[in-house]
Amino acid sequence: MKYKKALYEWIYILPALITLTILFIFPLFFNFWISFQEKSLGKEASFVGLKNYIKVFNSSVLYVSLLNTFIYAFTAVFFKTIIGLTVALFLNMKFKGRGFLRGLSILPWALPMYVVCVLFWFNYDAKGTFNNLLRFFGLKPIHWLGFDYAMPSVILINVWHGWPFFFMGILAGLQAVPIELYESAEIDGASSFQKFIHITLPFIKPVILTVALLSLMWTMGDFTTIYMMTSGGPVDKTLTIPMASFQIAFFREVDIPLAAAYTIVILPIYLVLIFITLRQMA
C-alpha cells in the first residue's frame, strides 16, 4: 500500500518533473558546464578550467553592470512601492468610480513591455510629449536618453509599467485587514496616521515585502527596457546585468562560454533573493 501510494505520487508529479528538467535543470547545468569551456563560433567546446571566471572578475564590465543593476532595480522598486502603496490606500476607500479607477490603474501593467518602450520613444523624443510639456511651461527640453538622464529615464519607464503590480498586491493585503481593529482604534481615539502605522502597515508588511522581492528579481532581470531604449548606453551608463551578458554572448566578444561564466557569477545574488522571497512567502 505504501509503495502504491508513493507510485501514485510519482506518477502525478512526473509530467511536471520532466518539464522542469527539460526547461530548467538541463539548461542550468549546460550553462554551468559551458562556463568552463572555450568555444569558437560554430565549433566544438574544449575545457579551459577557470579561465572564463578569471576574465569575468578582471573585467570592469562586471562591476559597472552590477552597480547599474542595483541602482536601476532598487530605485525602481522603491518608487513602485511608494506609488503602489499610495494608490492602493486611496483606492481602498469607498467612493463612486472606485471600480473604474481600479481597472484603469492596472492598464500600464497589462501592456507588453515592448509596447511601453515604443510609447516612451515618442515621449522621450526631442519633439516628444515630455519635451513639449516642458516647452509649454517655459522650460528647456531635456535629452531624456542622453548621458545625464538615461538612467532616470529607463527607471521611469520601469516604474510606470510596474507600479500596478504593487498596487494590486497591496490592495489585496489591505482588504484582509479586519475592520474591527480600525473601529477599536477609533474608539481609543487613534488618528488616521496612527491607524496606518500601528494597524495597516504591520498587516500589509508581509505583502509589501513579498511583492517588492518578486519585483526586485524581475527588475534586475529586465532586458527589454534597456535593450529597446538605450542598449546599455550612452557609453555604459545603463549597462545592466542582462544587457551585459547579451552583449558578451552575441554582440561584442561573441563568446557564449564567457557569457555563461558571467551569469554564473551573478547567480548567487538571485539565489539569495529567491531564498528570502520563498521564506517570506512561507
Binding site: M1, K4, K5, L7, Y8, I11, S40, L41, G42, K43, Y124, D125, A126, H143, W144, L145, G146, F147, T230, S231, G232, G233, P234, V235, D236, Q247, F250, F251, R252, E253, V254, I256
Partner: protein, 497 residues
C-alpha cells in the same frame, strides 16, 4: 493508526492505460528524434592520387602525403520538395526586398523548390545569425545580410568562387571582391555599393551666401559650411552627427574623419599590426576626435544626436532639423518618394577626401545547407541578369544601392552624362571608382575580418566615440584603451603575443 480502518485502494485501469500510452508516445518520440536521416549511398570518385586507399561503406578515406582527407560520399535524399531557408537584412528601401522576393520565388518556381524568406531588422541580424549558428540551425543562405567575416573565418561558409567566375570576376570592383575573400577564396558576394553622400539644402546654402563652400572639398570645408548654416535659434542645425550607441551611422560617419585625418586601424592580423594608437596614425585619430568634440561643443548638431539611432539623421533631415546630412541615398529615396519639395532643394556631393562604402550586405551560404548547389544557383540567379539587378535592386532604390559591376556603373555614368540623375553634383561613376575603404573592413589592410567586424557590429567603436564626445574623457587615454582592447581581440581570435 491502530484500530483505524484503512480502505484498500486499487490502481484504476484507466490510469494504467494512460501511463502506458504516455510511455509509448515518449518512446516513439525518442526513437524518431534519434533516427539518422534517410540516405542514399552514391558511388564516390577518388579525386586525388592516394598512397593507400580504404573504402568503407559510404565513405572514402584518401591518404595523401601531407594529410588525410575524409570525403563523405553520401547524399541526403530529401523525402519531400527541397526547401531553402533564406534570411535577409530588412532595408530602408522596400523595393529592394520586393525585388529579392520576386527573383527568389521566380527561381524557386522554375526549379521546383520551396523558399522561406525572413527579413530581419538591421540591428538584429548579426545577433540572430550568431545565435542560429550556435544553436546549430543557421539558414541555408543569407541574401543581403551581415556579418560575414566571423562565419567565413570560422570555416562555416561555402566557397562561391565558381559563382564569381560565372559572373565575370574582373567585372566586379576590386574593393567589393577584396572584402568577400578569405584565404584566397570567395565566401560571399556583395549585394551593392552603399555610397555615402553629403545631402545638403541648397536653398539654405544660398540664403547663407555659402555657395563658395558647395560642394566641400574636404571635411574642414564641410565644417565651415555647417557653421554657416547652423541656426539653432530656429531649430535648424548645421550638420547631423549621429552619436547614438545603437547605430552604425555613428561609426561610419566618424570613420570618414578617422581616415581623412590620417588615422589607421591595422596593417596585419597580428598584435604588432594594430596601428590605432601608433604614431603617425595616432595623431590622425586624435585630430578626428578633436574635430568631433569641437563640432559637438559648438552645437553644430542637434543636442539629442547623442541618442540617435540609424534612422534619426534621416528623420532630422527630412523634418528640416538639419541642413546637412552625411548618409547613403536612403534619405534622398525618402524625399523623392514622400517629400518632393525638399528633394528639389537637396543636392548631393561625395564626402571628400575619403569615400567609404557602407555596403557590407552580402549573399553567403552556410555549409550546413542540405542543398548547396541550389543555394549557390539562387545567388547566381540574382545577379545573372545584370541589367535586371541594376534596375530592380539599385535604380528602384533611387541609387541607395549602386551595382557592384563595372559594366553597369559605366552605363549609369552614360545616362548621367546624357542628363539623367542631375541631383548628383558629380559623375557617380567617379565616386564609385574613388572608393577604397569599407565600413566593416580594416585599413590600410583592406579586408573584412572577425575583429574589425565585431567592433563595428558590437558598437564598440561607437562607445569609443561617445566616451570622448559625450562624456568628455581624455582623448589619449581613450585611444590607448581601445588600441589595447583591439590588440587583445586580435590575440584572442588569431593568436599571437
Amino acid at each position: 493508526m491502530s484500530g483505524e480502518k484503512v480502505e484498500k485502494k486499487k490502481i484504476s485501469p484507466s490510469l494504467i492505460i494512460a501511463v502506458v500510452v504516455i510511455i509509448i508516445l515518449l518512446a516513439a518520440l525518442v526513437y524518431y528524434a534519434t533516427l539518422p536521416p534517410k540516405v542514399e549511398v552514391v558511388p564516390t570518385t577518388i579525386v586525388q592520387t592516394a598512397l593507400k586507399t580504404e573504402t568503407l561503406p559510404g565513405t572514402t578515406i584518401v591518404r595523401t602525403e601531407e594529410r588525410t582527407v575524409v570525403q563523405t560520399a553520401v547524399t541526403t535524399v530529401a523525402p519531400t520538395r527541397p526547401k531553402l531557408v533564406i534570411w535577409g537584412r530588412g532595408t530602408f528601401v522596400p523595393p529592394q526586398m520586393y525585388w529579392v522576393e520576386k527573383k527568389a520565388r521566380e527561381w524557386a518556381a522554375g526549379k521546383g523548390v520551396d523558399v522561406e524568406i525572413t527579413w530581419i531588422p538591421v540591428a538584429e541580424i548579426g545577433t540572430k545569425l550568431t545565435a542560429a549558428v550556435e544553436a546549430g540551425a543557421p539558414p541555408d543562405l543569407v541574401i543581403n545580410g551581415h556579418p560575414v567575416a566571423r562565419f567565413a573565418e570560422a570555416g562555416l561558409l561555402l566557397p562561391l568562387d565558381d559563382i564569381v567566375e560565372k559572373l565575370n570576376e574582373s567585372d566586379i570592383y576590386e574593393v567589393k571582391r577584396a572584402v568577400c575573400k578569405w584565404g584566397g577564396h570567395y565566401y560571399a558576394i556583395s549585394t551593392m555599393f552603399e555610397i555615402t553622400w553629403i545631402h545638403a539644402r541648397i536653398d539654405l546654402i544660398k540664403k547663407a551666401g555659402a555657395e563658395n563652400l558647395w560642394p566641400p572639398k574636404n571635411l574642414d570645408e564641410l565644417y565651415e559650411l555647417a557653421k554657416k548654416l547652423n541656426d539653432p535659434a530656429h531649430e535648424v542645425w548645421g550638420l547631423g552627427i549621429p552619436l547614438g550607441l545603437k547605430g552604425y551611422d555613428a561609426w561610419w560617419q566618424f570613420q570618414h574623419y578617422w581616415i581623412a585625418y590620417g588615422g589607421a586601424m591595422m596593417e596585419s592580423k597580428t598584435p604588432e599590426g594594430v596601428l590605432i594608437g601608433k604614431e603617425p596614425y595616432r595623431s590622425g585619430l586624435k585630430k578626428a576626435f578633436e574635430m568631433y568634440v569641437k563640432m559637438w561643443r559648438e552645437g553644430l548638431t542637434p543636442p539629442d544626436s547623442g541618442e540617435w539611432v540609424d534612422a534619426s539623421n534621416n528623420q532630422a533631415y527630412i523634418n528640416g532639423r538639419i541642413a546637412i546630412a552625411i548618409n547613403p541615398l536612403s534619405i534622398y529615396y525618402a524625399l523623392a518618394t514622400s517629400k518632393p519639395e525638399l528633394a528639389a532643394v537637396t543636392s548631393l556631393a561625395p564626402v571628400l577626401p575619403v569615400s567609404i562604402d557602407l555596403g557590407d550586405e552580402s549573399c553567403f551560404v552556410f555549409k550546413t545547407t542540405k542543398y548547396p548547389d541550389l543555394a549557390k544557383d539562387l545567388i547566381y540567379y540574382l545577379y545573372k541578369d545584370k541589367d535586371d539587378y541594376t534596375k530592380g535592386f539599385c535604380e528602384a532604390s533611387s541609387w541607395y544601392a549602386f551595382p557592384i559591376f563595372k559594366s553597369q556603373v559605366a552605363k549609369i555614368s552614360e545616362r548621367w552624362k546624357k542628363g539623367e540623375f542631375k541631383y548628383f553634383a558629380v559623375d557617380p561613376a567617379k565616386v564609385v571608382e574613388a572608393i577604397k575603404y569599407f565600413e566593416s573592413g580594416s585599413w590600410p589592410l583592406l579586408e573584412r575580418n572577425t575583429v574589425c567586424e565585431s567592433f563595428r557590429e558590437g558598437f564598440i567603436w561607437t562607445e569609443m566615440i561617445q566616451r570622448v564626445v559625450l562624456k568628455g574623457e581624455d582623448i589619449d587615454k581613450v585611444i590607448d584603451e581601445y588600441h589595447n582592447r583591439f590588440v587583445e581581440e586580435i590575440k584572442r581570435v588569431y593568436g599571437g603575443k
